[in-house]
Every structure is written in structure tokens, then in C-alpha cells.
Symmetry: C2
Amino acid sequence: MSKEPLILDGKLVSDDIKAKLAVKVQELKEKGVTPCLATILVGEDPASATYVRMKGNACERLGIISKKVVLDESTTTEELMAAIQELNEDPNVHGILLQHPVPHHIDERAAFDTIRIEKDVDGVTTLGFSQNAFGFAEYPSCTPAAILAIMDYYNLPIEGKHAVIVGRSPILGKPVSMMLLNRNATVTICHSRTKDLANIVSQADIVVAAVGKPNFIQGNWIKPGAVVLDAGYNKGNIGDCDYEACAEAASAITPVPAGVGPVTIATLLKHTVESAERTVQV
Amino acid sequence: MSKEPLILDGKLVSDDIKAKLAVKVQELKEKGVTPCLATILVGEDPASATYVRMKGNACERLGIISKKVVLDESTTTEELMAAIQELNEDPNVHGILLQHPVPHHIDERAAFDTIRIEKDVDGVTTLGFSQNAFGFAEYPSCTPAAILAIMDYYNLPIEGKHAVIVGRSPILGKPVSMMLLNRNATVTICHSRTKDLANIVSQADIVVAAVGKPNFIQGNWIKPGAVVLDAGYNKGNIGDCDYEACAEAASAITPVPAGVGPVTIATLLKHTVESAERTVQV
């Protein structure tokens, strides 16, 4: 294919989401409510620290309060759960984000599930997953929601398409599979034990890369005209797809960086504002 | 293929499960606990009445108490939820089964989600679905669990196989997809909006029919040597697969009746006994 693919510009999509949010934040403030996202960072992982800082900055640029909780690497599961519980009970906090991954000695699932569903704006709780899978979650997992937001922004059809998801994590591969299924895609979920991955990916109309391995998805796996969504974000700003090669075949593709990433953050802010709006409605 | 397929005998698998359960029921009774499954039937649907009766009889044959709650067709969602709440609070009830489907005016999801997770032996709650999807449910949805029990009884490999699920309901298609995925199958989920279904099914090493349409899956869709699991149970004891034609190609196949059905009931009893055991351990 000599035709250039459509570059799915995550900056453009996130700016569109944030412009709408700015209006809502203003309206909330006039009602005396300032949306507040609490972020919890456990330990010293530099990438995680960067993500939390980016999310905090994005909040502040929109007038959303960013409440930062930083816990020591040696924090126990119980201590982390207590910190989350405190945020659950704080009426001024509308959303809680626990930065993934936490140190290995912590039970991350137990910590995630301590977050009250009403404040689970990152969409990481067990209950939130199934609400999402059944189509009625208030806050679907942010990266999957971002992927769908990008497709919708560009009017890329989902119904009847064959979507192949590479990866099966509880906060990315599994929820995006369920969301695309609920939008009437036929969905195939692949992973490290999948045999003949290239052959399966080559049948996809929509490829979602959610595997966490740099340049893993090869260009010659992509069916000409397929839509490629790269949710990978590996060291050195490298995605899960070999971008140049995949772009040769794709009709549309997200770059890394400035693809799924910024929209994920905008989605997190959107959920936080929605949560704040719900407290006003009550 | 002239070779006869292996008939996956649901009666044999369920007898095996029930023989083990009989011992456990005896042990529980010696400790003063008789397992009890409460079934709720709303309305007059004859098929539903038959299912509930079969489940009740299966309980009684094993010495499990079958507590039958029968509610009028005109029951409201609130009345049904109140009836479930009463069973939740009854310490002598170890499992609660709400027979699907309920009359249209009832919010079935709300009713299912009234069942306490500790008594959700049928595996129908929203929270139970995601616990299952994340691999830590105590009581996975019974029909999906039965499908896996049959495969395990016959030592049919799952890891690395391509499983194609036809159907995406919250109590069958979606949970069986997650369970096969957690067992390291590559999983494709198809449904009414899937294009070129025959082509997708023809790539499957494992076919799960969960669509509720008699003789829907055609024999010439089945890859020679595939394993066919038919969870359909339509009027006149007819499965979702055209049995004779599918059996020509399959290496192993469940008949209808006497395939998945009896194992589903045995699984329900197993979960009820496990729930009773947990009350003794506490």
C-alpha cells in the first residue's frame, strides 16, 4: 500500500475531550464544587512517578485538584488499603487512582478493590470490570475507554468488524475485549500462549496491541486496510507495534507517543469530573 | 473422517461429580449441616418449571434439601428482590438459584445481583462474573464450569488451542470465554453480528455453541478433529449444533441431551455443597 494511513492523533482527541471538560469544571466551580482526583504512588519506580506527575499536571491545567499521596516502597497492603479507605471517606475527593504497578509484596487486587466503585474513575475494581463487561459501568477502564474514544472520534466502524486483541490483562486486554464485543465486533483475544499469532492478527480489521513488548507486532502481520491501536508504552517512548512497518499496511494507526496515552489521561479526567457532577446531583 | 468421534458423556461426568458429592454430603450431615439449595421460579414458563424440577430432584437424590420458592408471573422486581433477601438471610440456605429467564417486566440483572455472593452457587452475579474472569471466583457460572469439567474429565487440552465461542450472554458466552482464556486458550467470541461465521468457526480447535438456536452450527463449519461442546438446549431436546453432521468432523462432541446439561446440574450441586462446607469451616 503506497497510500498513507490516517494518523489517529491522540492529542487532537484529548484536546477535544478536555475542551468540553473545561466548561463542566467551570460549571461545577460555580456550584461550589471543585473536582478532585487523588493519586496514590507507592515506591520509587521512575516511570510510575512520571505517569502520576503527568496526570497531576493534566488535572491542574484543567482546574481539577490533584491530591497526591506518596507512600514508601515498604508500605504494606494493609497500610495502602487504609490510605485508600481514607480517600473513600473524604467527600472532597471524587476519584482515586492507584498507580499500577505497586511493589511486588503488595496485593494489588485487594488494594484496587478497596477503592469505592463511585470513586473508581480509573476503572480498575473487580466489580467495575464486570459492570463494564455487561455494558453498564460508569467508569470503564481508562485505556480501553480511550481506545474506543479514538475510534469514535474518527468514526471508525466497530460493528461487525473482527478485532484482535493482543494481551489479556485485567485493566487492558480483558476490558477492551468486552467493550469491543459490546459494540458488536467479533473479538479474538491472544496472548503469550497463542499459537500462530501472526496468522490470527493478519485476519483482524482492528488490532489492539496491549502486550507491553516494544515493537512486538510486525508490519507483515497487518491486513492491508486494518486499523491499528497501540496501547503499548515501553521504555524510550516505544509502542507495542513496529510503527513504520505497521503504518505501511494500516488504513489508520495510533502513533506512540501521542496516540492512546493522552486520551487515557483525558478519559481519567473526564471520569473524575463526572464523579464530581454526581455528587452535585445527589 | 470415517473415524467415530469420542462422545463426551455428560451422564458419566455428572455421575462422577455426584459420587464425590455424596460422600461430602454425608460428612456434612454428620456435622449437623444439611446442604440446602433454594430455587426461585417466577411465572409459568413450562421449560423453566421443568428445569427447576430437575434441579430439585437432583438435590433430593443426593440428600441436599431443595427449598422451592414459586412466585406468581405478576411478581415485581422489588418483591422478587425481597424474596431473595430473605433467602440471603436464612442461615439454613447455602445456595440460591433464580431460574432464568424471569418475566420481561422484571429487572433480571437487579434480581441476580441481590443474591449474596456467598450463596451465588449458579454464578450469575455481576461481581461473580468478574471474579471468574480474573480467575478467583468461588462459584463460576455453572454451564461454563460444566463445559470445562467435561474437557478436564476427558483430558482434552485447552492451553494453546483456539476456542471459538458462538454466543455472548452474561451467564454463558462471556464467562466461558474468560475461563478458556484463563486456561490459556486463544479465544474468539462470535455472535449475531459476526460476519463470515462459518469461516471463523472452521478455524477452531474447540467450538462452544451457546447461541440458543436449534441445529445452528453446521457440520461443514467444523475443522476435522475439533472438539465440539454444545451448550444449547432448544425445544424438543435439540442442541445448537447439527449433531450428526458435526460428529462427522469432530474428534469429540457432546450430545444433546445428556451432554453439557447434566454436568451443569451436577456443578450446581457441587457449588451448593461447597457453600455448605464453608459455613462449617467458619
